[in-house]
């Protein structure tokens, strides 16, 4: 149990998926202009990451390893994650239009997201058990949401400042992200990994 909690905390804060591993920077920059949309994106990513990690873990240990085709990992994972996200989108559209309207626009963005694929691959590389990989992916999702949420708050404040013309737009956003990343380095002493 302690082990699982440790994984969870360390992935949220110490090995934050965006700010220390630099995965999923694209949606991090793209969907962080407003606090509410950033939260929507965060929730979508948590759900997809958890489901994708479970599916890819099962697939890896029950299909790829027995067939001795471990080198197909990346291709197979992309295929599985893409179909999974597509499936969730179709389901959501039918069963819960309200949730679809809130999260639906983010789902296609996640399909080809390196953070989701990265977490799935890392789970295998770190030789996590099924439960551990669930904790790991949940932690990564939460970490992503936290980073996105803080960053969206920063950008809302940034909108009110007089930014020099050459820094306006993506430039100042990247600088801010860099500073935020530096700040997250402060967590590195929190958990021994």
């Amino acid at each position: 149990m302690t082990e699982l909690l440790l994984i969870l905390v360390s992935t949220v804060l110490v090995n934050n998926v965006v700010l220390t591993q630099f995965l999923g920077v694209c949606p991090f920059m793209g969907v962080s202009k407003r606090l509410d949309t950033s939260l929507g994106m965060g929730v979508a990513i948590i759900v997809v990451m958890a489901i994708a990690s479970l599916a890819t873990w099962l697939f890896h240990y029950h299909v790829l390893i027995p067939l001795d085709v471990g080198y197909l990992q990346t291709v197979a994972f992309v295929l599985i994650i893409a179909s999974l996200v597509q499936f969730i989108e179709i389901m959501l559209h039918k069963t819960s239009p309200a949730l679809y309207r809130a999260l639906g626009i983010y789902l296609p963005l996640i399909t080809t997201n390196c953070a989701v694929l990265g977490i799935a691959v890392l789970n295998i590389r770190k030789q996590h058990s099924l439960l551990e990989s669930l904790a790991f992916s949940l932690g990564a999702g939460l970490g992503f949401t936290l980073a996105l949420w803080i960053f969206a708050g920063l950008r809302e404040r940034l909108e009110l400042s007089a930014v020099p013309k050459c820094f306006q737009g993506t430039a100042i956003a990247l600088i801010t992200a860099g500073l935020l990343s530096l700040a997250f380095m402060g967590f590195s002493g929190l958990v021994k990994v």
Partner: protein, 441 residues
Amino acid sequence: MNTAPTFRGGIHLPDHKRETHHPIETCTLPDQLVLPLSQHAGTPAQPCVAVGDRVAKGQCVATAEGEVSAPVHASTSGSVVAIEPRPHPSGRALPAFVIEPDGEERWATDLTPLEPRQWSPENLKQHIRDAGIVGMGGGTFPTHVKLTLMEQHSCDTLIINGCECEPWLSGDDRLMVEQGDKVLDGADILRQALGVQRTLIGIEANKPEAIALLRHASRKFDAMEVICVPSTYPQGAEKQLIDVLLGRQVPSGGHPANIGVVVDNVATAAAVSDAVRYGRPLVERVVTVAGPALATPKNLWVRLGTPLRTLVDQCGGSREEIGKIIVGGPMMGQSQLNLDTPVVKGTTGLLLFGSQDVSLREAGPCIRCGRCIAVCPLHLLPATITAYAERGRFDGALTYGALECMECGCCTYVCPAARPLVQMLRYAKAEIITRQKECLT
């Protein structure tokens, strides 16, 4: 002298009161008087005399239109030569009577004194309304409306505002010194019109003469107390005065009536006394004429509608090139385009500044020093609200309480980047209100 504790925020200004603390003189009669139909907050009055008519002093020339409005009275006898758009202190050309005086100063007889036995709250309210009395501290909110508002709320205290916290202005101070009995009499009449027991008179500590005189005179009245309040700008703002005197906070978006208080200016109280005792409507007021560019600062009794030029002439004209003309106090007053605008009911002062006194510094970017936040007496975040306003994000400005702002000018005064914070706040307020009206229709 014991002073009440102060409110949070505000600033200490060089008050320049010594320069202007002179006895009140009477202003000369100009060749033409311009009486705008809109001299009060609310709907402009409706003319009830025509061009060419002869009018007497104190005759009603325009009647109140609707509930929040006040009538206008001729401030001298003469003939109406025009009703046309004329320069108004607001900077726009608004409809006004142009009256050519005949020099006779013949008083009209429409408004009669009210006998003390007729002093029911209803009669007093009607009489104050007919006399065209509005808040003379500059707010120009019709006084009878304040009295009516009280009917919906239970009220316990009348506050008479003798703070006069703006620099230079000393008209209220002189009025209290010279006509203290009239001020207290007016306060007592207002108290009876409201039907409350207690009257508090708040005077800033920099007016010791007025405090001593009124303290002595107020012993004649029951439950009337003169309280010395600290000299901090904006002590004369009603929310701050209530806070200091009673420790009560006016709720957001509410009136002082919501917490059982009515605040009236000392000049308003004196005008009420004149109207009720002598049947004289509001036709003249005290105006402080001062400023670094003026030859001899004076306090003047001025007939409403007198062009500013007449006042300046009587004070010996300007001694240098005029760079800025301000009607009202230097903090909240309005800048004027020229000296053609008339004195209206809310004109507390006229200030002339030389071209050297005017700062032409361009506004710089906000450096987030937070001084505006430290001095805001309403505990707002001027820096944040104006940042939203500057970017056209009026939703954000509203969230941060732009509508609470009373435009006292403390934030602009302390801003080291010379940012036009009050202008942006006013702009935000105007835009928010127009949008809210659009939503309603």
